[in-house]
Amino acid sequence: MKAEHTRRALLVAAASGSLLAGCKGIAALGPVPPPGPDVITLEHAIASEELMIARYRAALTALVRQGRHPDLVAGLLTEHSRHLAALRSRLVLPPRLATERPRPSPTPPPVPAGHAQVLDYLAAAERAAAARLLGQLQHVPAPLAQLMASIGACEAAHAALLGGTRPA
């Protein structure tokens, strides 16, 4: 428990450093420490999850426009929102930074036309994200590695579900 608190405290200091790097005001407080590799990795994982959610929102809009029932895609989107919340909870930001101007949501690549193509678009993103997490979880402390392994496993499962379930 104590070790975990210490870890979080370190992530706070490093995270504020990485986000304030472009801000002149902080210069008065002395040089900003560079963020550690674990913080950078976590920020990348958070950014990937944000992009995944943007893809799902765009895909949902496309499916509704096609007159499709987007139940599967909506369900998977909910799981991604919970992944994002879990990842963000591991990056402890000072209150002022956390509330100040949230980052704009990323713009996903255009969604292709056709129902099967939309599902392929998501499945390919899921497979890539799962593969990327296998590399990223090498650069973070054990508890975060376990969370990333679990999220990667969920994403691999999403790709399988989008690619069609096993025949009866």
Binding site: A149, G152, A153, L161
Partner: protein, 167 residues
């Protein structure tokens, strides 16, 4: 410091190092044994799954393929444990199944439970500092989650993690 006491200090440092190394490898072996036990149980359990499915049906072929995947993971884990100087724990002759199986639907239910047990069993290896061990655990968690989703037709938000404490 005399030469003799320098020698003795060096010996003590060396033995502390080797003790730390041996503790780390014990820890690693314990994590692998946990995964091995789950893979052994899954290899056994899929035999039961297959025995309740119609032969030559797609589900039977799927159960056979999944069983082979678990046997391969089991054998890899046994080799990894041996390479570290450990002895792989033997499989039990029989296992108490986590669910009662007498119909094809219950057989599918057993496959789902087996995969979930395997997912959790790899968490210890994912926590290991050795990159190869961590990668093996995370890769196997993905494989188990894919098999689980194919059997159940749905995903779990945080495969392998206990309860809802993932945040």
């Amino acid at each position: 410091m005399t030469r003799a006491s320098q020698h003795s200090a060096a010996r003590s440092r060396a033995s502390q190092h080797s003790a730390a190394r041996s503790r780390a490898s014990q820890h690693l072996i314990a994590a692998m044994q946990a995964a091995l036990a789950a893979e052994q149980a899954a290899s056994y359990g899929y035999g039961i799954v297959g025995s309740h499915l119609a032969r030559f049906a797609p589900k039977f072929a799927a159960a056979t393929a999944d069983c082979v995947a678990h046997e391969q993971a089991r054998d890899s884990l046994a080799s990894m444990i041996t390479a570290l100087g450990g002895t792989p724990n033997p499989a039990a002759a029989a296992y108490r199944l986590p669910v009662r199986v007498s119909t094809p639907t219950q057989a599918v239910g057993l496959a789902i439970v087996l995969e979930r047990q395997v997912e959790s069993a790899y968490l210890g290896m994912v926590a290991a500092p050795e990159p190869a061990v961590r990668a093996f655990g995370a890769t196997q968690m993905q494989a188990a989650a894919v098999r689980c989703a194919r059997w159940s037709g749905r995903s779990q938000t945080f495969p392998g993690l206990p309860g809802e404490q993932a945040g």
